[in-house]
């Protein structure tokens, strides 16, 4: 009997090291974007808002590698500065939604009973609104900019984290090791936060990484609608919005460059998230 389990384990042994090429590339891309965002003023060849009427809609050249937009602003520089809001927004949302979601999830799982029931219904209510809609409502109430959508989307994404945390903690809670801690005299909250939570954290972390990609795309969408980061600030979504008029005149580059940036960023984050959740999934304590 145990020989069987042993064989099964050896055959299913998690691949140590040997990250796939796609995973490595994704990490590299994301690192590159992060570095670009942090050191934007040093790296960018031009000021992102420097208008040059002599070079309106110029194609790629030695002076402007990716060309310029309808006001003659350097697209590469705007892309690099745009990475700042593109990455900062999702980061804020992911951090705050993860913290909020974990707290609510642990609370629901550990207290159970009516607390669990009330929270579950609350999550259902939030789930029933698309996150973008909640963000738009927040903008309508509190005005345009990055802050209102970030807060709204933190709330919208918290239930995803909370529901996952709840189910993980709820199943851990009935394991004998938790009873063993209780018998030793540890308090319930100590066990939940200091011992059970770290055991489920990697899985929650993988889910949050996936959320990062979704949020990035949605925030870009919000800026595109003119509700997020406002022009003339460099932001990928806002850049696509501004270049709409140019599309009619056959100037595709100012729209396509930021659009591709969004796609690459989201795909990279999703690949990393999937890979992490796959790997950690095999590591869930039996």
């Amino acid at each position: 009997m145990t020989a069987q389990t042993l064989t099964a384990k050896e055959l299913k042994a998690p691949r140590l090291g040997g990250f796939g090429i796609t995973f490595t590339v994704s990490v590299a891309v994301l690192l590159l974007m992060t570095v670009a965002a942090i050191f934007a003023p040093i790296i960018a060849p031009y000021d992102p808002n420097e208008v040059d009427f002599m070079a309106v809609h110029s194609g790629p050249s030695m002076a402007h590698w990716l060309g310029t937009d309808s006001l003659g602003r350097d697209l590469l520089s705007r892309m690099i500065f745009g990475a700042r809001t593109a990455l900062l927004g999702p980061l804020l949302v992911v951090v705050s939604s993860t913290v909020l979601g974990i707290l609510l999830g642990v609370l629901a799982a550990w207290r159970g009973g009516w607390v669990d029931a009330v929270l579950a219904r609350l999550f259902d209510v939030i789930f029933s609104f698309p996150s973008l809609l909640i963000a738009i409502m927040a903008v309508a109430l509190f005005g345009k900019g990055l802050i209102a959508p970030v807060i709204a989307m933190s709330i919208a994404y918290a239930p995803y984290v909370a529901r996952l945390t709840r189910s993980l903690v709820a199943s851990e809670r009935h394991r004998p090791y938790v009873a063993a801690y209780r018998v030793q005299g540890f308090s319930g909250w100590w066990i939940a936060l200091r011992r059970v939570l770290p055991n489920v954290a990697p899985i929650v972390g993988a889910q949050s990484t996936l959320n990062f990609g979704y949020v990035l795309a949605e925030l870009a969408g919000l800026s595109f609608l003119g509700l997020g980061v406002q022009a003339p600030a460099a932001d990928w979504g806002a850049m696509i919005n501004e270049s709409q008029a140019g599309l009619v005149g056959g100037h595709f580059l100012p729209a396509i460059v930021p659009a591709i940036a969004v796609v690459i960023a989201v795909v990279a984050v999703n690949i990393i998230g999937e890979e992490l959740s796959d790997r950690i999934g095999g590591e869930i304590p039996a």
């Binding site: 042993l6 064989t7 004998p176 090791y177 005299g185 308090s187």
Partner: protein
């Protein structure tokens, strides 16, 4: 020609690990052959290879001749034929081997209808016959029932019926009674032997339980680490073992047979002088606990249980699943509150589950517990040393350095070293984990140690080591132990006194040896009679019991 002839079978994994090494086993027609060994010995793999159930990508050597055909090399189609007509298998966990969404009738008649093209009515009749043969009470009705409506023992009979329905020449049983209570095990074994005899069927019976193998088998093979270390007639192997490993195994196996002459030599419970402290370490008076689930009849898990353990003594609580023994343990350590009655530990009231911090700590110092499953009762992320240190720091104001030293002391007491302090649970063996759990409990210096089936999940030799550790600690520190187990033989090794529980009530209470030698209550007698004994010993045991 033998029914089954395994000749120098080897099995190797792609990474070069050799799991089976030159196994040769024969089973003749109508013969029951035991395959005995501890976990990881390769006994299951050997049995599975007969039906071609092999791990993926394994490299096989040697041959497995089933009715003259090599099941390692025949075509897939021929293998299916062999599985249909020549041999079938009963697995350990019946619930894992049956589709929960289909009725028992569908499970039983499926093979007949698909492979023998029997019409539905005839298949149904055969199904009813088979359920009768395995002595299920209401065959017609059972055919329409779903697996969840059956108990483990009843479901295992269904699985046996399913294995026998194609009239195999060879039945392979892989630990078919390990998950079952001892009285249920006795019934299942009776059914199996009866069927094997009436059909003239060969049986390959895999078990870790020497006594069971001895009571059932004509010949046995003892396996260890992928090799057959000894073979011969059951009596020969167990009464005069030749191989070193077999001798160790036989010595480690506890027995219930009370033989006054052997009593001196056999491992006896540690006699710890009961101190003059008549207050007792644990005193339970009329403890009751009832679970009420809405829409169902209340379950009276523990009813009016009273017991007393004097300081330094060990009391065994024996019962089958559902007897309330685990609930009692959980009440004593404060994981549950009793509905009625009173529990005193070292003279202090410990009836209710603790709530506030001071209560929790006080209760923890009164009673500690070692749990059944060593794989689940340690936090997978926390190293052994850290786990013990956590407990120390909660209950004492030791400095970090002092507590580290104390951790090493405690590990040393349970026979482990400082090297193990850095180890995470998954790198430790089952026995080592259980020792860490004991050390962790001792760190708190409790008045009472509750061991809830603490050795049930371990191999016999490891179990013997853990029991030795417990005996050693009791000798040195006069620790009081409440030892909960389903296994009378183990309780006999540890405890001077024993209570027998059934349906939440204590049915018998007495000194362990007297209770085993001269049981008063019919249920105790049933329990004792159900414990497998070597066939050649049975008469002796019956005589000494009366």
């Amino acid at each position: 020609m033998n029914l089954l002839d395994i000749d120098s079978l080897t099995l190797e994994l792609p990474n070069g690990t050799r799991l089976l090494d030159g196994i040769s086993i024969t089973v003749a027609k109508g013969e029951t052959v035991g395959l005995v060994g501890e976990s990881g010995s390769g006994k299951s793999l050997t049995a599975r290879s007969v039906l071609g159930l092999l791990p993926e990508r394994a490299t096989m050597g040697g041959q497995v001749l089933l009715e003259g055909e090599d099941s390692l090399r025949v075509s897939q189609q021929r293998l299916s034929e062999l599985r249909r007509h020549s041999a079938s298998m009963v697995f350990q966990d019946p619930r894992a081997g049956i589709n929960p969404m289909r009725t028992v009738g569908e499970h039983l008649t499926e093979t007949l209808r698909l492979c023998e093209h029997l019409p539905a009515e005839q298949a149904r009749q055969r199904g009813i016959e088979m359920l009768k043969a395995v002595r299920l009470p209401r065959p017609e009705q059972h055919l329409k029932q779903y697996p969840h409506e059956f108990s483990g023992g009843m479901l295992q009979r269904v699985m046996i019926a399913g294995a026998l329905i194609s009239s195999p020449k060879l039945l392979i049983c892989d630990e078919p009674t390990t998950a079952l209570d001892v009285t249920t095990q006795a019934e299942i074994i009776a059914v199996l032997t009866e069927q094997a005899k009436s059909r003239g069927m060969g049986m390959l019976f895999i078990t870790h339980d020497l006594n069971l193998a001895a009571s059932l088998c004509d010949r046995v093979y003892v396996m260890s680490q992928g090799r057959v270390v000894e073979q011969g007639s059951a009596q020969g192997v167990f009464s005069a073992p030749q191989a070193e490993y077999t001798r160790k195994l036989v010595a480690a196996t506890p027995t219930v047979a009370v033989d006054p002459a052997a009593e001196v030599a056999a491992a006896r419970p540690v006699a710890v002088a009961a101190t003059a402290d008549r207050a007792g370490a644990l005193r339970a008076r009329a403890v009751s606990k009832t679970y009420t689930i809405r829409g169902q009849a209340p379950v009276r898990a523990v009813q009016d249980v009273s017991l007393e353990v004097s300081k330094g003594a060990a009391l065994g609580v024996v019962g089958e699943s559902g007897s309330g023994k685990s609930t009692l343990a959980r009440i004593v350590v404060g994981l549950e509150s009793a509905d009625a009655g009173e529990i005193l530990i070292a003279g202090k009231e410990r009836t209710k589950a603790p709530r506030r911090r001071a209560e929790r700590l006080a209760h923890a110092r009164s009673a500690q517990m070692v749990f059944q499953d060593p794989y689940l009762s340690l936090d997978p992320r926390i190293t052994a040393g850290h786990a013990i240190e956590d407990a120390l720091k909660l209950h004492s104001k030791l400095s970090t350095l002092d507590s580290r030293n104390r951790v090493l002391e405690l590990l040393d007491q349970v026979g482990m070293t400082g090297k193990h302090a850095q180890a995470r649970p998954r790198t430790l063996s089952g026995g080592q984990r259980q020792c860490v759990a004991i050390a962790r409990a001792l760190a708190i210096e409790p008045d009472l140690l509750v061991m809830d089936e603490a050795t049930s999940a371990l191999d016999v030799s490891v179990q013997a080591q853990v029991l030795d550790v417990v005996a050693e600690i009791r000798r040195e520190r006069g620790l009081t132990v409440l030892f909960i187990s389903h296994d009378l033989a183990v309780v006999r090794r540890v405890c001077e006194e024993t209570v027998v529980m059934r349906h939440g009530e204590i049915v018998e209470h007495g000194r362990t040896l007297e209770l085993l030698g001269n049981p008063q209550h019919p249920y105790t007698r049933l329990l004792l009679d159900s414990v497998p004994r070597p066939a050649w010993n049975r008469e002796v045991a019956v005589q000494s019991a009366t």
